[in-house]
């Protein structure tokens, strides 16, 4: 794995845990997920988050595939999760 640059401002999904809980109705960071791009499995809390953007982007830490995008528009919240093969929320 590449060592990150000293000014790396990448976060992880823990930073957007509140937003995810609003969307899904439960904590998602501990949920298992699978990347539709490369098949990597891991908790949602391990996904890389880009929050300084016109929207929130969650990417696979292994292959950078966009797994989830969220944009707040005046007409509502847009969510796309094409890159999420699945999410499993345990009770």
């Amino acid at each position: 794995m590449k060592e990150p640059a000293p000014d790396d401002r990448t976060l992880d999904a823990n930073a957007v845990a509140g937003m995810l809980e609003e969307l899904f109705g439960a904590d998602m960071t501990a949920a298992d997920s699978k990347c539709a791009g490369c098949g990597r499995e891991g908790e949602v809390g391990t996904l890389l988050a880009y929050t300084n953007a016109p929207g929130v982007v969650l990417r696979c830490p292994a292959c950078s595939t966009v797994m989830l995008r969220m944009v707040e528009t005046p007409r509502g919240r847009l969510i796309e999760a094409k890159g999420l093969a699945y999410v499993r929320v345990t009770r």
Partner: protein, 243 residues
């Protein structure tokens, strides 16, 4: 349901020159798990609003209130307000507790390896404070990276807790300047340091790493290189290091 509530600032404590702790009384307090955070929201009269997450520094044993510890980031949106404007009695919108991945409670056992850089110590302090009054108390080592001795947050409390001889050890690395007579680490976290620090904890401790992104990724990669199973490692990135 994750709803906003109005917290009241009950107390403010200066931890270091750039770091302050705030005790917030919560009308709808619920017990949290160490490692979780609250979201804070500020709204100006013209409707401009900003929201940030702050890790809970206190353990769940303090009912009705939480403590958050905030580093003043010069170009930040919320931290300059909290440091320069907010006073005891002010009310702030919060929601939480949030998070389910980067959490530890005594029931999860150990041994525990906690690795912090700068303000990354905050969620780990909630774990340490909870551990101090919980049982069982697993063997725990905290590796804490700071630039100078004056940057160490909770320095006195960590010293006191470590002196109880109940299985908690605190290991500092001071990367920019050290006090006279310092015999500890003086460099950034690397594989050799990680191997030395984790040796007494065995092959597969539970690991929690929190701090600036480069430190978190470097430490996580290093631990995997020295043989710690990746599924035992949990990380929370706080973004770039403060300047």
């Amino acid at each position: 349901m994750l709803d906003w509530q109005l917290a009241t600032i009950k107390a403010i404590r200066q931890e270091t020159s750039r770091v302050r702790s705030f005790t917030l009384a919560l009308p709808d307090w619920t017990s949290h798990r160490p490692g979780q955070h609250y979201d804070l929201r500020l709204t100006a009269a013209d409707g401009y609003s900003v929201q940030r997450s702050y890790s809970i520094a206190s353990g769940p044993e303090r009912e009705g209130e939480i403590e958050i510890t905030v580093e003043r980031v010069a170009d930040g949106e919320i931290s300059p307000f909290l440091h320069d404007v907010a006073v005891v009695g002010d009310r702030i919108e919060v929601r939480g507790p949030i998070g389910g991945y980067f959490v530890w409670q005594a029931a999860l056992g150990g041994p525990l390896l906690l690795i912090a850089g700068g303000s990354g110590i905050v969620p780990l302090m909630a774990m340490i404070r909870h551990r101090a009054v919980a049982s069982p108390r697993p063997a725990t080592r905290l590796l804490y990276s700071s630039r100078t001795p004056d940057d160490i947050i909770y320095a006195d409390e960590l010293r006191k807790l470590a002196s109880r001889s109940d299985g908690l050890e605190v290991i500092h690395t001071l990367t920019r300047s050290q006090p006279a007579g310092w015999t500890g680490y003086t460099r950034r976290i690397d594989d050799k340091m990680l191997a030395e620090v984790r040796r007494p904890l065995g092959d597969a401790p539970l690991v929690f790493i929190c701090g600036p992104t480069p430190l978190v990724e470097g430490a996580a990669n290093g631990l995997v290189r020295i043989g710690v199973p990746p599924q035992r490692i949990r990380t929370e990135r706080f973004g770039p290091s403060g300047k």
